[in-house]
């Protein structure tokens, strides 16, 4: 159909159509697997074998969730994951805040060199250090403990870098004014620097949470049989090897494990976007 719109307006409309088409495709690619997981977790096992598989659960089967929760010990695994993630997130927030403050506000010898060393840790994949770390954890008697699960992750170069950038945005005059008002570094950190860096702290908290919650390899290495400290990601894997080894139950467990992440992303979406686009636009 010929359009009466002027060329500039037509081009703008075309750009808009292309943009939304790409965004829709992206959303399908990202959300599609999640949707299928939820749908399949609600289908009876027999329906999963159908080709093509149903895209909507006409008669949702909720009992798979109950089975995964109680018989698959997901309640314990989720609690363990919550403890492990809580310790790691709190630890990273505290250590990153203190280190970032030191790099941003204190003057000490080799400050720049040390900061470069911190950044260099970002270049080393965790897998490279797994053998050494697992030996250390074992030597310390931390095998199958929350200490073994969490201590290697209590400090992060990324968090230090992120918060240092946030602290550098705080005008130096504020530190000097506070010094004249009688505030030492620790009090200034608590009363001024941390409140002003709240968006970055929230973003770091979300990143830490995602990384800790989704850990699989490390918990697999440092936890053994039994359910005392095993995390939910290991628990999902164990579901496959039990009498509950039905795909629909495993999928129900997966959905349960994802719920905390979804809640977190919805609540902290603003902070995440702000921290990722910080400085991109004025």
């Amino acid at each position: 159909m010929p359009s009466d719109a002027p060329p500039g307006r037509r081009a703008r409309r075309l750009r808009l159509v292309v943009r939304y088409t790409l965004l829709t495709l992206g959303a399908v690619v990202v959300l599609g697997p999640l949707y299928l997981t939820v749908v399949n977790s609600l289908l009876p096992a027999s329906a999963l074998a159908q080709r093509p598989p149903p895209l909507f659960p006409v008669h949702p089967q909720w009992h798979d969730y109950a089975a995964a929760w109680s018989q698959g010990h997901l309640d314990v695994y989720l609690r363990n994951s919550a403890i492990q993630t809580g310790i790691i997130v709190a630890g990273q927030l505290v250590t990153s805040t203190l280190a970032a403050y030191a790099f941003a506000f204190l003057r000490f010898p080799l400050r720049r060199t040390l900061f470069v060393v911190f950044l260099a840790t970002l270049m080393i994949p965790f897998e490279v250090t797994i053998v050494t770390n697992s030996t250390t954890v074992s030597d310390l008697g931390w095998y199958n403990t929350f200490a073994g699960l969490t201590v290697p992750f209590l400090a992060t170069g990324f968090g230090t870098f992120l918060l240092r950038q946030a602290f550098l945005q705080i005008p130096r005059d504020l530190r000097e004014a506070a010094a004249l008002d009688g505030y030492g570094h620790l009090r200034f950190l608590v009363r001024v620097a941390v409140p002003l860096a709240r968006p970055s702290l929230a973003a770091l908290g979300v990143f830490s949470f995602l990384a800790a919650w989704n850990q699989y390899l490390w918990p697999l290495i440092v936890t053994g049989s039994g359910t005392n400290v095993r995390t939910v990601q290991i628990g999902l894997k164990l579901l496959e090897g039990t009498q509950l080894s039905h795909v629909d139950v495993v999928l129900a467990g997966t959905v349960i494990a994802v719920v905390p992440l979804l809640v977190l992303l919805v609540v902290f979406q603003k902070q995440l976007v702000r921290s990722l686009t910080g400085g991109a636009v004025k």
């Binding site: 005008p171 005059d173 000097e176 010094a179 004249l180 009688g182 001024v192 002003l196």
Partner: protein, 377 residues
């Protein structure tokens, strides 16, 4: 309250000397202005008193006590920053209260003091607002309130008006002077604005390249600048400076040759300057230069600026030296490019050595005429 003193205070940053053996006393209850261009060391001097920097040599005294190694928080001074340094996440009330929380004041005392400071500065209605919800002038008053709430021994103010527009600056500087007089607190005020310095200071200390050039009352500084830097820096526009050579003319009268023209110089000044052949710099305030047929120095008008009540006429002499003439707006105004003759009364001449230092020649020489004496030719 307490006096503040610099004793041969020196501060270096790397190889650069920011402050060079500064010797200066600020009297108890006095408002002393540190005046100078960017990089002259005035802010460094202020930071030495605040305890934000330590002197490399010499001493800083507050209330007669050397405080070189006393921490900033223990010096009992309050500083108002150029940026105001308000805590953006705290309300106005909490900003004002901030210094008190760390000093052990109980809650009632803190409330009383915050209310008093807010009332003094007209902030009582704004106590619940955040700094971002305030205008520049209001933020500036919050910064002042935070300084006075502690009742410190001295105020240190680092160009606190530089972020305000012209009208607000005029009002606020009057407010600061009134507040300082009301409180009677020793105040060290840093600015590069000579109008601010002249209108606010009990005394002004002029600095350049880390060196104290002159310290005196505003009028004395204007009337008897110690060197060409002070002469040029103080006054708006600054003093006209004319390179000259001293000669003894017919009848033994002393004259200075300026761009091919002769200006009469009093004998005492001529003798003190070194006699015939001495290279000089003659200074004359723009309001002490006249334009008319009775003048003795030839010049060409290059710019005529109308400023409402007065007119600034920029003239160029034969040797390229510029001379600014300040005229009443009602006076006949020369045209751009017009050839004119400039007249200067000997009594209004300031005589400087070629090095820039003032020629001290006793009474009658180098003094600007007192107002109403009609020294303008």
């Amino acid at each position: 309250m307490a006096g503040v003193a610099f004793r041969e205070a020196t501060k270096r940053f790397g190889g650069a000397v920011a402050l060079d053996r500064l010797d200066l006393e600020v009297g108890d209850g006095e408002l002393l202005v540190l005046l100078g261009p960017s990089g002259c060391g005035k802010t460094t001097a202020l930071r030495l008193v605040a305890g934000l920097e330590e002197p490399d040599d010499g001493a800083i005294e507050i209330g007669g006590r050397v405080v070189n190694h006393v921490e900033a928080k223990d010096r009992d001074v309050a500083m108002v920053f150029q940026s105001y340094a308000l805590y953006p996440h705290l309300s106005v009330g909490r900003n004002i209260e901030f210094p008190l929380r760390q000093r052990g004041f109980d809650r009632d005392e803190r409330r009383r003091r915050v209310a008093d400071a807010a009332s003094t500065l007209g902030l009582s209605e704004l106590l619940d607002r955040k700094p971002r919800q305030l205008s520049g002038g209001q933020r500036q008053r919050v910064a002042l309130a935070r300084a006075i709430v502690r009742e410190p021994q001295a105020f240190l103010m680092d160009e606190p008006l530089s972020n305000l527009d012209a009208a607000l600056r005029t009002q606020t500087r009057a407010d600061i002077v009134a507040l300082q007089q009301q409180l009677g607190t020793t105040t060290l005020y840093v600015t590069h604005d000579q109008v601010e310095a002249m209108t606010m200071g009990d005394r002004i200390a002029v600095m350049d390249h880390g060196v104290l050039q002159q310290v005196d009352r505003p009028q004395a500084l204007y009337d008897r600048p110690a060197n060409t830097f002070v002469a040029r820096f103080v006054g708006s526009p600054g003093m006209n400076l004319l390179p000259a050579t001293l000669e003894q003319g017919a009848g033994g009268k002393w004259e200075a040759q300026v761009a091919g023209s002769a200006l009469a110089v009093p004998e005492t000044a001529a003798t003190a300057a070194g006699g015939a052949g001495a290279a000089l710099v003659l200074g004359v305030r723009p309001e002490h230069v006249g334009i008319g047929p009775h003048g003795t120095v030839d010049a060409t008008v290059v710019i005529v600026e109308l400023l409402g009540a007065e007119v600034h006429v920029a003239c160029r002499l034969g040797d390229g030296t510029n001379v600014i003439v300040r005229q009443d707006a009602a006076a006949p105004r020369p045209a751009h490019g017009e050839a004119v003759r400039l007249a200067v009364a000997p009594a209004s001449l300031h005589v400087f050595h070629a090095s820039g230092a003032r020629v001290e020649s006793g009474a009658g020489v180098g003094h600007a005429p007192v107002p109403g004496e009609g020294a303008t030719p």
